[in-house]
Amino acid sequence: MIATDRLKANPSYLSIEALTVAYGATRVLDRVSLGVERGEMIALLGSSGCGKTTLLRAIAGFVRPESGTIRVGGKDITHLPPEARETAMMFQSYALWPHMNVADNIAYGLRMRGWTKAAMAARVADMLKLLQLDGFGPRPVTQLSGGQRQRVALGRALAIDPHLLLLDEPMSNLDYKVRLELRHELRALQQRISITAVYVTHDREEALTLSDRIAVIDAGRIVQVGAPEEIFHRPTSAFVAGFMGADNAIDVTQRDDGTLLAAGGGPGARVRAHFRSDSARLETGSTPSSGPDLVLSGTIEQAVYIGQGYRYRVRTPGGDVWVHAPDRVPEGTPACVVVPRQAVLLFPPEPPDSATTSAMRPAA
């Protein structure tokens, strides 16, 4: 196989090949292949139940795959027990041990590796300094705030200098403000010590800001891998487009010259158009001349205040679309939604029975 040959010729630091995981009859991961370069931070992005956490747990050794291989630095770790893998995981719950203080939590992995007391103390001090937790060593972990716990969990993982850092939605239990702060801190730290990291999240903003590359997972398969800009601007499927925020999806007609019309507006091929509600513009005056842009006319059904302006639901003959506009327009007003041609993502029309895109597909 060509893909396998390429992997063999230039193997990634972490290389996953055709990994399949099943719980009973349900396939949670279906022949997933992924390469992560040394020093890279990759985000596994998907909705809950898509298999992203299972992939992470398979790398850590908590899930036994049915078939496929996982290699780190060329070494096959597929069948190693978790303790022999040199991966360090940060858990969603942090999983700090309540019967140990901060220093003992951080030193645990070192103790397992037979470090001397003095070496452990020095390493713990380094970690506390790195995470701006100086002097927290003797504190019980039960007395720390969420953000502090998260740092201790990160310190505990980094202390052993792991080959891979695995992060399982480590920010999901934090306040929004703390999360924003820690996101940038984590990214800066990861780049500074250039550790290879796999980050599981369902938050697209987090994936975009944190990672070098994003792997979007849907129903146990990787549907697209690429740089954040690429995933955001050039999604290869309707699912990825929807997940990356192109929340409007409507059937339109594409004429032979490439211009787009509202469905039924003339002869041409039926295609599915996706676009972001903030990339379209609302026109309430006279119908604008079509030009290359997609123009959908209808009436305003609903207005929602969102802080920077309003979000409108516009009923058009082809279906409802959402659009953002700075000014308040009363409901019932006839209006046009104008989408610049470059903001429209075109996909083949949906077959009528595939409404459940992200539902678990049966095993192929």
Binding site: A60, F62, E83, A95, R156
Partner: protein, 273 residues
């Protein structure tokens, strides 16, 4: 005027009377016990002892009195019972808490069975079997009988204690290089320890108080404190019986205070799950 709208002095009086009745029901027998423990002479028509003193305490605690010897036997049996029960309850409780056993609740129920069946016929049968294999009248025999009782508490509480340890705490240890055994020793066991200590205390107290099984399996060679108390009261010596009862109260009350601190809500919430 109905019962709900009684005037407040009347309601207060009613409450006081009810409380007093409760207190009497609970503490009355204990008070009688105290009186008997310090009574030198107490004959039928008198409402209270005629003479108080410590003569019987002296008799109980004198070197050749068998109260101290049977106290020693009782404690020794209780300690052995605790070890035996925990030796079974720790692995069994962990398995019940962690593994996806198909008959989990059925297994937990089986451990309850010795409590459900009437004790007397069971002990008579056990005594007969033990007699045939030479366990009657031995400490081992009594410990086995006590453990059959203690295991219910031990297994239930131990499995609750292990169930309240979050699996990700164990995974974090494995992830950082701990083998399955090291992980159990350094993470699971210390976190479950309060629950396990509580179950050990319950087993200890259960064994210390146990009478029926000991009576059928242990007599006449093994004399525990409850047996001594029984013999004393059957022989009409209420002073000795009361003093032994008071001695038995000391560990019960002491440990109950300790257990209350160890059995946390998160463990109790897992009992029987």
């Amino acid at each position: 005027m109905n019962a709900l709208t009684l005037p407040s002095p009347l309601r207060a009086l009613l409450r006081a009377v009810l409380l007093a009745l409760f207190a009497f029901a609970i503490f009355g027998p204990l008070l009688n016990l105290f009186l008997w423990a310090f009574a030198e002479r107490w004959y039928f028509p008198s409402k209270l002892p005629l003479e108080y003193g410590l003569t019987f305490w002296y008799r109980v605690f004198q070197p050749r009195g068998n109260a101290l010897a049977s106290l020693g036997t009782s404690v020794w049996i209780a300690v052995l019972t605790v070890f035996l029960s925990l030796a079974v309850a720790v692995p069994a409780g962990y398995a019940l808490a962690r593994l996806k056993l198909p008959w989990r609740s059925a297994i937990l129920l089986v451990f309850l069975l010795p409590q459900a069946v009437p004790n007397l016929p069971v002990y008579v049968n056990i005594a007969q079997v033990f007699y045939q294999i030479g366990l009657n009248g031995t400490i081992v025999g009594v410990v086995l009988v006590h453990a059959s009782h203690g295991l219910v508490l031990a297994v239930w509480i131990a499995s609750a204690a292990f169930a309240s340890v979050d699996v990700s705490l164990e995974e974090a240890a494995r992830n950082l290089g701990a083998s399955a055994w090291t992980c159990f020793r350094t993470v699971t066991l210390p976190i479950a320890a309060p629950g396990l200590i509580a179950s050990a205390i319950f087993v200890f107290l259960e064994s210390l108080d146990e009478f029926t099984g000991t009576y059928f399996v242990g007599v006449p060679d093994v004399t525990t404190l409850p047996l001594l108390m029984f013999n004393a009261s059957m022989g009409g010596n209420y002073q000795i019986a009361s003093i032994t009862a008071l001695l038995l109260l000391i560990p019960s009350i002491g440990f109950m205070l300790v257990v209350e601190r160890f059995l946390k809500a998160d463990v109790l919430a897992m009992v029987g799950r």
